[in-house]
């Protein structure tokens, strides 16, 4: 397949409580093999998926938050987090996992994967996509 499309995975749910975040992440990992132009967006309670220090021991849920750290290795390195959603939940960038990727075109420099964007900026990003899958 020669055609490259812009895929954006929009994450709207908290990591636990429903299965949307976990199964959504599975789609992103499989999709990474197709060499499309991939990004992820985190809005609403979806911003909680990236929160540092997730501990699921008492709830007996699978803590899949370490998987987000692997996204950079899959060349999924544009994670857009909506600023308003963070603020509405009393969070800021420091509360999120420090996700990075290595840029092979820049002497493997380590770069941040998370970009905090405004609601208006995210709207423009959504407008630019070919395929939007929301979870």
């Amino acid at each position: 397949m020669s055609e490259t499309k812009k895929f954006m995975y929009v994450n709207r749910h908290a990591p636990y409580g429903t299965v949307y975040a976990l199964e959504g992440l599975e789609v992103v990992l499989i999709g990474a093999a197709f060499e499309q132009e991939v990004s992820m967006a985190f809005i609403g309670d979806g911003v909680f998926q990236l929160k540092q220090g997730q501990d699921t021991v008492d709830s007996d849920m699978k803590n899949f938050s370490p998987t987000y750290r692997a996204l950079g290795d899959y060349e999924v390195n544009r994670l857009y987090v909506e600023r308003e959603s963070l603020e509405e939940r009393g969070l800021n960038e420091d509360d999120l996992m420090p996700l990075t990727w290595e840029d092979e075109d820049d002497d493997w420099a380590e770069k941040k994967s998370i970009h905090i964007v405004s609601r208006a900026q995210l709207s423009d990003l959504l407008e630019a996509q070919d395929v939007i899958l929301n979870f």
């Binding site: 397949m1 055609e3 499309k5 895929f7 299965v19 949307y20 199964e23 599975e26 789609v27 499989i30 999709g31 093999a33 197709f34 499309q36 070919d130 395929v131 939007i132 899958l133 929301n134 979870f135």
Partner: protein, 130 residues
């Protein structure tokens, strides 16, 4: 136009499966093409032939099977989501040591790559869910 559709919710609990069905039915009647229907999350429960709704209600599973037979629709259940929820075809049942399968006619089980491929091949992908 060439559409693909993703169905993310189970039948009866959520109207997403109904809305997706009616959209696809209308699109096909209007002469559009539906490349694939991909069932994910609880949406895989649209594909079990064991579904037995009351006589006076719509049969969502049979409705999908009939639409697939009429239009040669490609109805795909995600294998990982289906295994979690106990939806199996004969091969998957054998492979996982289960004593029965329950996939409905017209459906097939395959991987998430089918969803990404649908996104690449189609003009539009519509997601029906919560």
């Amino acid at each position: 136009m060439k559409f693909s559709v993703m169905v993310n919710e189970g039948p009866y609990t959520h109207q997403a499966a109904d809305t997706a069905y009616h959209f696809i039915d209308a699109a096909l009647k209007a002469g559009h093409e539906v490349f694939r229907v991909f069932f994910y999350h609880d949406g895989v429960n649209n594909g079990t032939r064991m579904t037995t709704p009351p006589q006076d209600d719509r049969n969502i599973v049979n409705r999908w099977s009939a639409l697939a037979a009429e239009h040669d629709l490609d109805l795909v259940l995600c294998v990982a989501a289906a295994q979690r929820r106990g939806i199996l075809d004969a091969d998957e049942a054998k492979r996982n040591g289960k004593d029965a399968d329950n996939i409905a006619p017209g459906f097939r089980i395959s991987g998430l790559g089918q969803l990404i491929e649908a996104g690449i091949q189609s003009d539009r992908v519509l997601v029906f869910g919560d």
